[in-house]
């Protein structure tokens, strides 16, 4: 405390190094990290990703390279190099530290993973040592830079630095920025999904870099700017995101990744439907996956599969409507008696109804009941969807691109997700959406304002259910079969009710992009980290606790939630109070 009086606090970092030394140290370290990526890190290609070749970075080396480059960029921005001011408008130290940490984390993780996997430090090539030493330097240097909040120790770096209010760009430039941001997002996502399922190490490295780099971007204010810009050009950003998703299958040579993409989209669509029920209306539904199951079973029964007791073959649009209608009826049947309950009681009853569905289909096997669902065997050999003369099961070639079966389904699912997003945003920003939110906020007051609580809740429940049913119809066809097993409350792999709820809560309740992101993460992580299978639920629980501690509003917060959990006083006043349409649009989501 006393030495703060001797020296101006802004000049002192945590480590007693003058800034004139610290900055070159970071630069040297960052360049060293980049250089190390071109060296050999281990002698044997046994380690995933083949890190043995000089001159060709691969796997984790690419991640180290990117992290090093990001560190360098952030340092230069913090150094006030001309033309990079936009990267870190507040000139804060923490983005440099966080990106330096991303490089440090990936390099040291790799070094340790090589030593552990291959049995000993002897397996490390000089490149790995260079990487580890070089990546440590920027962290030390960043800690020596002027401390953001003197006297608080390391904690001072966690607080998000104050951002100067950004100047406005021309609409064209903003759109360009949104485009670049979305393209970067697509590249990162494609890289992540493209990591081989056996390369768990690479995927962990990828996650490490992503988390720290994203954290750095949050601290530098870039992510906020991207968000405000894309909210300002909402339609444009949505089209762009859709375009990015359409491009995705073309970037994949492997249909397996398209399969992951389809499953993510199904999962995300269902999560978005759940978001209407949980995020907007505030009804905790613990049995939501049953609606997905109802849709899937309904579609399977009318699919023309020879194992279906009904020998009918509906065209897809009719099957989709059947699935939606079945889920809708089921939703109303469950919602009718249960929605008169509030809070915990509702949660428990929905949990019960969800299990009832699974147990019922398990028992409609001809022994304990009529043979409709063939019990645990499920309905198999569901034929592929025929759409406008295209058989979605066949590969189609467009120019030099071949789109496999899952890529076809990915396109179908994209259209369905787009519809669900549209339904969500439009419903949320309307009379009915406002009454949902009002009921979530205070049901007694809402009824006193003339809202028929039961009816409005039932509409939310039924809408959520039918959207899940719609996703279910596609899911039945994608997986060739339906069986009761996935439609349980909690399991090791999505979709199940617990994962769906987690996707909504993790991603951000009441938003559109939140559940999409949450679902992607919750699907990808178990998929890519196969070795964790036994510890998955444990890790999942720890992640949830950490998130709820540090970011209770979810990864993507809507404005309302952010204010709910972080007291900001009157700081939420919008920048300009024009009575324009978009003022009314922002609150709904995204």
């Amino acid at each position: 405390m006393t030495d703060t009086t001797l020296q101006t606090p802004a000049e002192r970092g945590l480590l007693p190094l003058p800034a004139a030394v610290a900055r070159p140290l970071i630069a040297v370290g960052a360049v060293g990290t980049i250089a190390s990526a071109f060296m050999s890190w281990t002698w044997t290609p046994d380690f995933p990703g083949n890190l043995t070749i000089y001159g060709y970075p691969a796997g984790l080396q690419i991640l180290a390279l990117v992290a090093g480059a990001l560190t360098l960029l952030h340092l230069l921005a913090q150094w006030r190099v001309k033309g990079l001011g936009w990267l870190n408008p507040s000139g804060a130290t923490s983005p440099v530290l966080l990106t330096a940490l991303s490089a440090f984390a990936v390099c040291w993780f790799t070094g340790i993973a090589i030593a552990v996997d291959l049995g000993g430090l002897v397996n490390l090539d000089p490149g790995a040592y260079v990487a580890m030493v070089a990546s440590l330097l920027p962290v030390l240097g960043a800690l020596a830079l002027p401390h953001p909040a003197p006297g608080t120790g390391l904690k001072g770096y966690l607080g998000k630095p104050e951002q100067p209010r950004p100047g406005t760009l021309s609409p064209l430039a903003e759109r360009a920025a949104v485009t670049v941001g979305t393209a970067l997002g697509l590249i990162v996502f494609t890289y992540g999904i493209g990591i081989n399922d056996d390369d768990s190490e690479t995927f962990i490295g990828f996650l490490l870099v992503c988390v720290f780099a994203a954290w750095g971007l949050v601290h530098s204010g870039l992510l906020d700017r991207y968000t405000t810009m894309s909210t300002r050009h909402k339609g444009f950003a949505a089209c762009l995101a859709f375009a990015a998703a359409v491009i995705f299958p073309f970037t994949q040579s492997n249909d397996h990744n398209a399969n992951i993409g389809v499953n993510i989209l199904i999962f995300a669509t269902v999560a978005l439907g759940l978001n209407i029920v949980v995020g907007l209306t505030g009804l905790l539904d613990l049995g939501y996956v049953a609606f997905l199951g109802v849709g899937a079973y309904a579609a399977a029964l009318v699919s023309g599969s020879e194992y279906s007791p009904f020998q009918v073959h509906f065209p897809f649009w009719a099957a989709a409507l059947t699935g939606m209608a079945a889920s809708l009826v089921f939703g109303v049947l469950i919602g009718g008696p249960t929605l008169r309950l509030r809070g915990d009681y509702l949660a428990i009853v929905t949990l019960g109804f969800g299990e009832i569905f699974r147990i019922t289909v398990n028992n409609l096997d001809g022994d304990s009941g009529p043979n409709i669902t063939r019990g645990p065997n499920g309905i198999t050999q569901i034929p592929d969807i025929q759409l406008f003369g295209f058989n979605l099961g066949d590969s189609h070639t467009f120019g030099s691109f071949t789109l496999g079966r899952f890529a076809n389904y990915l396109f179908l699912m994209l259209i369905i997700t787009a519809i669900v997003v549209l339904v969500f945003t439009r419903a949320a920003d309307s009379r009915i959406g406002r009454s949902w939110i009002a009921i979530r906020e205070d049901e007694t007051a809402a009824t006193a304002m003339g809202i028929n609580g039961f009816r409005v809740k039932l509409v939310a429940f039924a809408l959520g259910a039918s959207l899940a049913g719609l996703a279910g119809t596609v899911m039945a066809h994608v997986n060739y079969s339906v069986n009761p097993q996935p439609y349980q409350f909690a399991g090791a792999a999505p979709p199940n009710s617990a994962f769906l709820l987690a996707a909504v809560v993790l991603g951000g309740m009441g938003t559109v992009s939140g559940p999409l992101l949450g679902a992607s993460l919750l699907y990808l992580i178990p998929e890519k980290l196969q070795f964790m299978q036994n510890y998955e639920l444990l890790a999942f629980g720890v992640a949830l606790i950490l998130l709820m501690r540090f970011r209770p509003e979810g990864i993507i917060a809507n404005r309302r939630r952010k204010l709910e959990f972080h007291e900001t006083g009157q700081l939420d006043v919008p920048a300009q109070t024009t009575l324009s349409e978009d003022a009314a649009v922002t609150k709904a989501g995204a």
């Binding site: 920003d429 309307s430 906020e441 007051a445 304002m449 003339g450 204010l563 009157q570």
Partner: protein, 315 residues
């Protein structure tokens, strides 16, 4: 002035063995401001909840403009009775404008389909709702804060927003449950003006309040509820002069004649207290005999009112 807007006939509300409201007859005429007072626990809020359908009265009927009201809060609002709450119940995490828009719920029809299809009818209705909501915010003086979250408003403005939200349902009768609780004198005065302005819009107002000055300034008629029963109903003057009201608030004088020693003791104590009392308090007591007792009653009730935040509606 004479058409009745609200007619409560023989309303009784029992919770198990406890009779909170006992055969209350009550009428509010159009263009009237009626006050409902009574000591804490007298059943005022319970009676309010019976009127608005939050409780179903054990016996009796409530009629609005000649039609018996269904016992469902949303249908009561639909019929034309809007209310505010004793403990502010805004939609805390919605903006000020959205709060008022929710109040418009009963006066708009757009369901899920029109929200999804966004036809011209939907846009028109949304625009009209927004215009009307902004007018109301203008009316209560919150138009500049329309994009604030309701929870971030200061207390007095939250009360105003609650009134604006209630007005958005275009009621014929507005029920205000302690609209000035916790307000300073200046805010109370603005609320008073606001209530007069609402009356001038042609809306009848029924107010529960503990602030006697506010009630007697405002109301054309005042009803007193004591232990669930309506004690008296009449103009401010009548109610202020009524001995039973004073008794209900302050208690009755001791029945037995005090002996002389006791009386002398009380006299000396009173004399000592009078000399110690600050000048301001004595001037407040000066005045006619009738208003003197009321003033004392007001002081007593206000003191009690400050501790009275637990008597909420237990929905």
């Amino acid at each position: 002035m004479t058409t009745p807007v609200l007619e409560a006939r023989d309303v009784t509300m029992r919770f198990g063995g406890l009779t909170a409201v006992r055969s209350v007859d009550f009428t509010v005429n159009s263009g009237e401001i009626v006050g409902l007072i009574g000591p804490n626990g007298a059943g005022k809020t319970t009676f309010f909840n019976c009127l608005t359908g939050l409780y179903v009265p054990t016996e009796g009927t409530v009629a609005y403009q000649g039609k018996v009201l269904p016992p469902k809060p949303h249908m009561v609002t639909q019929a034309g009775i809007a209310r505010t709450f004793q403990n502010i119940r805004l939609f805390a995490n919605m903006t000020v404008l959205e709060n008022v828009l929710v109040g418009r719920h009963t006066r708009t029809k757009e369901g899920l389909w029109s929200a999804l299809l966004r036809g011209p009818g939907f846009r028109k209705a949304e625009r009209e709702s927004e215009e009307r909501a902004l007018q109301l915010l203008e009316f209560v003086g919150l138009a500049e804060k329309r994009e604030h979250l309701a929870r971030n408003l200061p207390y007095g403005e939250q009360r105003k927003l609650e009134i604006a939200r209630a007005l958005a349902s275009e009621p014929g009768l507005l029920l205000l449950d302690e609209p000035t609780a916790g307000m300073n004198p200046q805010e109370t005065r603005t609320t008073e003006e606001l209530v007069f302005a609402i009356r001038d819009m042609g809306i009848a107002v029924l107010v529960i309040e503990h602030d006697m000055r506010f009630i007697f300034n405002l109301c054309d008629r005042v009803a007193v509820l004591v232990q669930g029963e309506k004690l008296i109903e009449g103009t401010s003057e009548v109610v202020q002069a009524d001995e039973r009201v004073i008794a209900a608030y302050l208690g009755e004088p001791f029945e037995g004649e005090p002996d002389t020693a006791e009386a002398a003791e009380v006299d000396t104590a009173e004399a000592a207290a009078a000399t110690a009392e600050p000048a301001g308090a004595t001037t407040a007591r000066a005045g006619t005999a009738g208003s003197e007792t009321t003033e004392a009653g007001t002081a007593e009730v206000e003191a009690a009112g400050s501790a009275d935040s637990t008597e909420g509606e237990t929905q």
